[in-house]
Symmetry: C2
Subunit: 324 residues, 2 copies
């Protein structure tokens, strides 16, 4: 058996790196010249990649296509914006490059993150935690009256992948009416999938609009002024997909006018928003800094997921989370 | 048919009061001399109560027992501390007084409230919302690494009533190991019920300790220094029952030493805590002001619940949420 070279730039602690090396042996892990701190920062092409058979990394799309020996790329994140172009898909298909991502690793924390947003909003935690109001006071009566429950409310989910599937499982006990918009329905979603044509009607009925759209040329500014205007007054907008999918000026207007009750965003464009950006001082706009996928032992779960796929790759079995 | 007099002091808007009056007609609603703002504030005995056949209210326990015509009391809250004494139970039983509460109204918002606490903690929303840290920064890597998921974690619930039953339904999709402590197990709980003897062992294993104990003589300072010491290091403590069930000095010590990761409290003793109380300045102590049961249209749901029980009362059917 030929010894495979596996390029990896994941930010792994020593223990996780050892587990990765041991797990692929006798095949070899080759590291980039310098470690990459962020999976989202541009890394530039790495010469080690040119020599690799497999990559478990976040390389530039161009570097992937110029790595002529590469047979399989496992993108070490759930998002894959930089590879999601017609050009890349065509080039990958032409040379038989397999592309997988790590959505299986991030589905749980991302779905819990957006669900935490939904419940924190329903229970008005951002108002209830800092206040020290007394039972029976006007402030207390107001806070209790604006608190809500998720029970029986309407939800539209945009982008139906691993995160949405997990979120749907979590929302089951709440008796909510769930519909999703997906570019290519498969029929196995378990909830009603609607077409773009029916989206305005769904947006007009939804109490919660959950944006999980991936970043790609088709989804740029998908949430336009017209789409925000189509939403039910008092709806809540959540974004845990990509900041590029939202017209932030339109969102700002919808929040400031009170048309939307609130927005909860884990992603923005750019990240972080520059100091002084008006969304930062909009009281009904809640922003976390793209930590939706984070979880303790992230490197360990990434390595475990890769090793499982590596075994499948060696066996010739179908890989998990294959996207191309 | 004799016209019944129904004493009600619930804080209802005009529409809800009209619905209540219409719903009981030809029976009559009688109101107290002045409206009561808080369901928890001492209201003092009301002369109108002495004349009532039914009460849908929060009267003093003594006033209930001296209201000789009263056949049924529906307490307009889920908590019933002031009535939960051996003396009251005995006197109620002796004269055949039926006592119900409104746990059916508050189970959903209270269970969602504690679940919001659990998810907000797992996703570290209190740190993630104010920070503007950049992807790849040390602060960002730290925040991602301390974020967690609820999946497969261990939970102990103390006090198994309507709120716990609903919470258990909500936690089902997370594959958690759930056990509950209940004074009088019924066998229909659907999860493992443990005795007080086995509680230390359960506390030592639990990642999440959810306190839903009612306030009564047996539960005073149930969460003692010894019980906090028995908890797993790094556990999270939640209280949405009654503040009286917790030794707050012991809780403070467990939080400040770092033995507990955090406490999330919707109830304290007293409420609110006085300015300068050390729990208020403990960074891993999160407090909401007893808004767990709040929800829009609370008066409407209270009235709907009462009218359903009133119909059952007239028919002689078993009442919902009967506690005595």
């Amino acid at each position: 058996m030929k010894t495979l070279k596996i390029f990896s730039d994941i930010p792994a602690d020593d223990a996780s790196l050892k587990r990765l090396r041991d797990g692929v042996a006798p095949h070899r892990i080759i590291l980039p010249a310098k470690p990459v701190a962020s999976v989202l920062a541009p890394s530039g092409p790495d010469p080690a990649l040119a020599d690799a058979d497999v990559a478990f990394a976040q390389p530039e799309a161009e570097a992937v296509l110029s790595a002529s020996r590469l047979r399989w790329l496992q993108i070490s994140s759930a998002g894959y914006t930089r590879y999601d172009t017609a050009e890349f898909r065509k080039a990958a298909a032409a040379r038989g490059l397999i592309v997988t991502n790590c959505s299986g690793v991030y589905a749980e924390p991302c779905a819990e993150h957006v669900f935490a947003f939904m419940l924190a909003h329903a229970r008005r935690l951002s108002e209830a935690l800092p206040t020290r109001c007394a039972s029976g006071s006007a402030a207390w009566l107001h806070l209790r009256s604006v608190s809500t429950t998720l029970r029986n409310q309407n939800v539209v989910i945009l982008g139906y992948g691993a995160i949405a599937a997990r979120l749907v499982e979590m929302l089951r006990p709440f008796g909510m009416k769930l519909v999703a918009f997906r570019r290519k329905p498969r029929g196995d979603e378990g909830i009603e999938i609607i077409s773009e044509k029916r989206l305005p009607d769904a947006l007009a009925k939804a109490d919660h609009v959950v944006n999980l759209l991936p970043g790609n040329p088709e989804s740029v500014r998908f949430f336009s002024a017209a789409r925000f205007a189509a939403m039910k007054p008092g709806a809540v907008f959540y974004n845990i997909g990509r900041g590029s999918t939202v017209d932030q000026d339109a969102l700002l207007a919808a929040l400031r006018s009170g048309h939307l009750d609130a927005a909860w965003l884990d992603v923005t464009d750019p990240e972080p928003l520059p100091p002084g950006h008006p969304l930062l001082s909009t009281p009904n706009c809640f922003i976390t800094p793209h930590t939706g996928g984070g979880h303790g032992n992230e490197a360990q779960t990434l390595v475990r997921h890769f090793l499982d796929n590596f075994r499948r790759f060696l066996e010739g079995s179908p890989l998990r989370d294959r996207i191309m």
